[in-house]
Subunit: 277 residues, 2 copies
């Protein structure tokens, strides 16, 4: 276990590369060494890949939706040995404000991001996503890293940016319900599903779908038992207090109102997609 711990610490680059259970391990060290290391029991589970060295890049841009990113970040950053980079499309490392104001500190700029990624992740947003679709440097970054990434991924309207970068041509994909019809503009086939994997492209539906998306991806990277371990750590056994979350399950008046409010946003994505041709 001492060697494992050293491996973990070696991969600790700055504040971001925190490996899974690290805080807990530190806590145990403070409390005195346990009689036997409880990780051993987990490592012995068949099909569970305890250690890895994934390079994950998660894009930050003004107006992104924080929950789109923080849901998957929880699961990615909990993978023992994985390194998660928060990559800003800004000129410096100033915190990047999300659509609802909450600002997250990036760890590097696009130019400094590893060239070969295990996972490229792009979160959605509302108007900020349409703005990013028109930003050449951002789209070039996504296209460049996407071509070599083992997994090209998005949650919510992040798929608009994958599409703008040409990464969804001929692929089945999903997006936030507002933007799903726009996927066709990128040569993709829109699928009405929460998580869609087509080859090395995995896309999630709107906002909260990031949790389901991340578990599916962790299972791909580390095996299902590892994903089950993180699912228990996150206590992910959802119990929405009432039905809803889709146009079909939301009371008609509320669904109609929301569809009306968001319709112009879909048109913004469509216009940005067509401007790229």
């Amino acid at each position: 276990m001492t060697l494992d711990r050293r491996t973990v610490m070696a991969s600790f680059a700055g504040a971001v590369a925190l490996a899974p259970f690290l805080a807990i391990e530190t806590a145990m060290a403070r409390a005195g060494p346990p009689a036997s290391d409880p990780h051993d029991r987990l490592t012995a589970v068949p099909g569970l890949k305890m250690h890895g060295d994934e390079q994950v890049a998660m894009l930050l841009y003004p107006g992104f939706t924080a929950l789109d990113l923080v849901g998957p970040h929880y699961f990615f950053a909990s993978m023992m040995g994985a390194t998660v980079h928060l990559v800003t499309n800004g000129v410096d490392l100033a915190p990047v404000a999300s659509d609802l104001g909450l600002a997250i500190a990036p760890t590097m700029r696009m130019a400094d991001a590893p060239r070969d990624l295990t996972v490229l992740f792009v979160p959605g947003g509302s108007r900020g996503t349409a703005t990013a679709m028109r930003d050449r440097a951002t789209i070039d970054f996504i296209a460049d890293r996407g071509v070599r990434a083992k997994h090209i991924t998005s949650v919510c309207t992040g798929s608009m940016l994958l599409g703008a970068a040409g990464l969804l041509r001929g692929k089945r994909a999903t997006s936030h319900w507002v933007a799903r019809p726009v996927l066709a503009e990128f040569g993709a086939t829109a699928v009405d599903a929460r998580v869609v994997t087509d080859g090395n492209v995995t896309t999630g539906a709107g906002v909260s779908a990031g949790l389901d998306f991340a578990l599916a991806l962790v299972a791909q990277l580390r095996g299902r038992p590892y994903a089950e371990a993180l699912m228990l750590q996150a206590e992910y056994a959802p119990e929405p207090p009432f039905p809803g979350g889709t146009l079909a399950t939301t009371p008609q008046a509320v669904a109609d109102g929301m569809a009306g409010i968001f319709a112009p946003l879909a048109e913004q994505y469509r216009a940005a997609a067509r401007a790229l041709r």
Copy 2:
């Protein structure tokens, strides 16, 4: 609608107080005025309180779990007219690093937080939460704002901090499954449930329970139709890719391994609770 929009803009304090749908409204304004304002249809839904002036304070402390906070933040900050403060227990406004490294920028220090809050919210964490339980200034802040807050709330092990501040005495409450047995140390009755409301105290279970918790609280504050609108905006119709998320539904070997890994952490909370007596 012009007056409404003015009200929203008036409540726009800095980057945080972003009202719901504001980005969307701006987008519509750019696209040219629509024939009729689609908000009107939503405002007409019976039981939906479109506007409010809630003061919400969400605590940031080193080692907090980002997803505990960002899930509820999405829903709180989407409430039209609500103001959400991200309150650091640090000496300045430097971004606060979470347990997995992701750092969030606070908007104010504890001393500057409004004295009378609609919602006091405390996220959990792992070892960082035990450290915060021993920090007198942090506990005093929670106790002081909690006494006057309309709603005292937490997700995950944030309930350890509410308990340390004496706010759970005689209350039914929940926490992350690891910490639930420790609630008794604070004179609370531990309940094995995802969201527990007892009087003005609403607590959520571990990490991902923040989404269920927030919807329940938004329904209390704005009526169920408003919560349904945000549930649709978040596309919250969870579909975990496999069963799990509780000790009972996780394969035995994985559940045993995780319970072993986290047992020392529960003991840390217990020790911190007893040190407060």
